[in-house]
């Protein structure tokens, strides 16, 4: 961790992420108004009471901005966790067992890459509704396939290590070897993958909200605020620029932190970012 802080870009990235997370957590206390209450005439320009003015329903845009990150981050980080945990377990079991299980898994990964993301989410959402848990699972599965590939590759290398051979020779069971010998040794790779998956999940969620397939009103969400504010880009630019800036800085922060973490651990972050 110390090595990571030596890199200015990485620490800036970390700072950005921490700032966003703290604001999101503290939103209920620091937001001047409730995000959904109808306060004043719509589309007031920014003024002393409403720092970013009011949105098109007369709600305080600044409070909604503070709350706006909560759901997006919840979905992005939990989808990232689903992707990394699921992906690592799948990838490592493929590396451990090889044979037909490995082949089938590779076919699934290749197939997932072939299905356009938007179609996958559209089907998932229309089938199971547009609630936050459904979004987390859908985005998680999309991101999981990339993690499967990188952890499988790392797993194959680990299988050649002496301590894994020794465990196999002593007749340790598959799950014990995977959980005790393989998983802890891909932990650093998983940390980098988590950061990459979380940032691309965030981008995906905001795009989905833009298409009306993501987070649904009345939950305050940056993607929705950008989509709503677009019609008023001319008259009330703040309504669009503020949430867009938040999305960009959070994703930027995660990416910078991921790069720094990858360099510090000597992994290759860029290649892990695809898929």
């Amino acid at each position: 961790m110390r090595a990571m802080l030596l890199r200015p870009a990485a620490s800036l990235g970390l700072l950005l992420v921490i700032a966003h997370v703290l604001i999101a957590i503290a939103a209920p206390w620091i937001a001047p108004f409730a995000p959904t209450s109808l306060l004043d005439t719509p589309l007031e320009p920014p003024n002393a009471t409403y720092w970013l003015g009011t949105d098109d329903l007369g709600r305080d845009a600044f409070s909604r901005l503070l709350w706006g990150g909560r759901v997006a981050m919840l979905v992005a980080f939990s989808a990232g966790a689903v992707a990394v945990l699921g992906g690592a377990l799948l990838g490592l079991s493929a590396a451990y067992r090889r044979g037909s299980f490995d082949d089938v898994l590779l076919r699934l990964v290749e197939m997932k890459l072939a299905v356009p993301t938007i179609l996958f989410v559209a089907i998932f959402v229309t089938g199971f509704g547009q609630s936050v848990p459904v979004l987390i699972v859908a985005v998680g599965i999309i991101q999981m396939m990339g993690v499967v590939r990188t952890t499988r590759a790392a797993g194959i290398v680990l299988m050649e290590q002496g301590y894994v051979r020794a465990a196999q020779l002593n007749g340790e069971s598959g799950p014990t070897i995977i959980l005790r010998d393989l998983l802890p040794n891909v932990a650093d790779l998983m940390a980098v993958e988590f950061a990459l998956r979380a940032s691309s999940a965030l981008l995906l969620v905001s795009a989905l909200s833009f298409l009306g397939l993501g987070i649904s009103p009345p939950t305050p969400d940056w993607g929705l605020m950008v989509e709503d504010g677009m019609a008023l880009l001319e008259s009330e630019p703040a309504l669009v620029l503020a949430p867009a800036l938040c999305i960009a800085t959070l994703v930027l922060g995660i990416n910078l932190a991921a790069e720094g973490l990858a360099d510090a651990l000597g992994l290759d972050a860029a290649r892990g970012g695809s898929g």
Partner: protein, 555 residues
């Protein structure tokens, strides 16, 4: 006609290379600067060949590169001077250095495969050096390249020009990079571990080639190696390095016969000396534990291909016996099939033909838990034999709880006992592998193997990743615990001195077959098979250095 090395000593010419008080610092990721080369000074006369010997981490490679004015990223020359052909390389600017590299001083890299551009033919790479550095026209460069390849003893140079590096053998690749290095007939030629990646027979041919080059060139040569046999073979003077400092330097004859420094004596001590008595203790004659008859193995190819073109045989008709408590040495170079043999006995691989009988019962592919317990294995790379994310104590206690079913307290007490038997302080139990040295890690791996109370231990090149100084200590501990537990041992290695020290009986393997088997003393002193003789010759050069009469005898 091998020239005796004595004549060279007389022609003392004006020094080509003068290194004075050279220090090189390296700044790690954590910001701390540590001296990799610390105040090194030496001279090198024209026509002379200097050997820089030292174990890994002694700074010999960094020094070699410094002679070409090059430091890897993160390290800088922090003091001293390198005078070569009238210039002080330390003071020269980057462009000046670049102009001289290849022409005035050149280097033969350690790993030829990684040092050649994989997507370019070897011919084109050699011609590139000739055109750019020797200034030859395209046509002249092509002719000179053919000439050089021929001079290097490469077969059909014309055809070789169009081949890619991965299509050549190890020896051929070494000759190509050698050709590239001497393309501009440099004044100083630096060779970094020229023969480490080669098997003994190819090593002998390459050393012969280097010896011919030395006599044909006026320039000086520096050979960086950890193998004292190579130094004894072709160097006039030697410079022994440890932790970036010169421990001792002087003519090979003096240093090898009467080394002044303790560290030098330790290194020389590790070299094989067949004239002294073998230190391996005779084992009490127990009845047969392991019998292998008619063993054959090929790597599995996809089924449809197996019938059409089955893969090359890895093991053919292998047979050996091992009694209880006995130590059997298995000698062979890489590709001889010795590791595959170990893999079959432990159950990692299953043989195509033949039988492996262990304590009277034939071993099937799926082993019973008892069989798994009674056969244990120690691997070559110490760092990879222990799970980096678990404390070493846990790794050792795992088999105790798995096989003996001991509870936490009893297991940790037994682990502490094993540590003591292997000369490790009990408080190391709570450390992580990375906090231990290579030697300590290997001893923990041995402790883990003995924790299962095995009857048979397979050791696959367990010393080759360790420095000479640490090897001796490890082998003594291994011998002690092996004798106390009465465990039979299959000692697989390419290092003859390890077998001489540990095993009463030895088996010599090559190309998947057993060439010779018998008492170690008999075979090492009077080998019948020419291949064994060549191995022994190569391994005993350091011991015979300084006694010309011995050199003539073994060639």
């Amino acid at each position: 006609m091998p020239l005796g090395w004595m004549q060279h000593e007389a022609a003392v010419a004006e020094p080509v290379l003068q290194v004075r008080d050279l220090s090189i610092a390296w700044r790690g990721p954590d910001g701390r600067a540590n001296r990799v080369v610390d105040g090194v000074s030496f001279d090198l006369a024209a026509g002379a060949t200097l050997g820089i010997a030292g174990e890994s981490g002694s700074g010999k490679s960094t020094l070699a590169r410094a002679l070409l004015g090059h430091c890897r990223t993160g390290s800088t020359i922090s003091g001293g001077s390198i005078r070569l052909n009238g210039d002080d390389l330390v003071a020269l600017s980057a462009p000046d250095l670049a102009r001289r590299r290849g022409r005035v001083m050149a280097m033969v890299p350690q790993n030829p495969l990684a040092s050649l551009t994989f997507h370019m033919t070897v011919g084109r790479q050699l011609q590139e050096v000739l055109r750019l550095r020797a200034g030859l026209s395209d046509k002249a460069a092509r002719l000179r390249a053919l000439e050089l390849f021929d001079q290097m003893g490469l077969p059909e140079p014309e055809q070789l020009m169009g081949r890619y590096p991965h299509q050549l053998s190890g020896g051929q690749r070494q000759r190509v990079v050698l050709a590239c290095a001497i393309a501009c007939d440099p004044l100083l030629l630096v060779l970094d571990e020229p023969t480490t990646a080669l098997d003994k027979t190819t090593e002998a041919q390459v050393l012969e080639l280097i010896r011919r080059l030395r006599s044909a060139r006026q320039g000086a040569m520096v050979i960086v190696t950890h193998d004292l046999n190579v130094v004894a073979d072709i160097c006039d003077r030697v410079l022994v390095m440890q932790h970036g400092r010169i421990v001792e330097q002087g003519p090979v004859a003096e240093v090898f016969v009467s080394p002044r420094e303790a560290y030098t004596r330790l290194l020389l001590g590790a070299a094989l000396r067949v004239e002294e008595a073998s230190r391996a203790k005779p084992a009490a004659p127990g009845q047969a534990l392991l019998e292998i008859t008619g063993l054959g193995f090929r790597y599995a190819r996809p089924s449809i291909l197996r019938r059409i073109a089955p893969g090359p045989p890895i093991l053919e008709d292998i047979g050996l016996t091992l009694a209880q408590g006995e130590v059997l040495g298995v000698i062979g170079e890489s590709g001889s099939g010795k590791t595959t043999l170990g893999g079959i006995v432990t159950g990692l691989l299953t043989a195509d033909t033949g039988r492996v009988v262990f304590d009277g019962a034939a071993l099937a592919a799926r082993r019973t838990p008892e069989q798994r317990r009674r056969i244990q294995m120690v691997f070559q790379d110490p760092l990879s034999s222990l799970n980096p994310r678990r404390r070493v104590g846990d790794s050792v206690m795992r088999p105790l709880r798995l096989f003996q079913g001991l509870d936490q307290r009893a297991a940790s007490r037994r682990a502490a006992e094993l540590f003591e038997q292997l000369g490790l302080e009990p408080e190391l139990l709570s450390r992580f592998p990375r906090q231990l040295s290579g030697g300590q890690q290997q001893r923990v791996a041995i402790a883990r193997a003995f924790a299962a109370g095995p009857d048979l231990l397979i050791c696959d090149e367990i010393t080759s990743a360790l420095d000479a100084s640490v090897q001796a200590q490890l082998l003594d501990h291994l011998a002690a615990i092996q004798r106390r537990q009465g465990t039979a041992m299959l000692l697989i290695t390419h290092d003859l001195s390890v077998v001489w020290r540990m095993a009463r009986r030895v088996v010599v393997m090559r190309g998947g077959r057993i060439l010779e088997a018998g008492e170690t003393e008999v075979i090492f002193r009077s080998p019948t098979n020419p291949y064994t003789a060549a191995l022994l010759g190569a391994a005993t050069r350091a011991a015979r250095a300084g006694h010309p009469e011995l050199i003539e005898a073994n060639g």
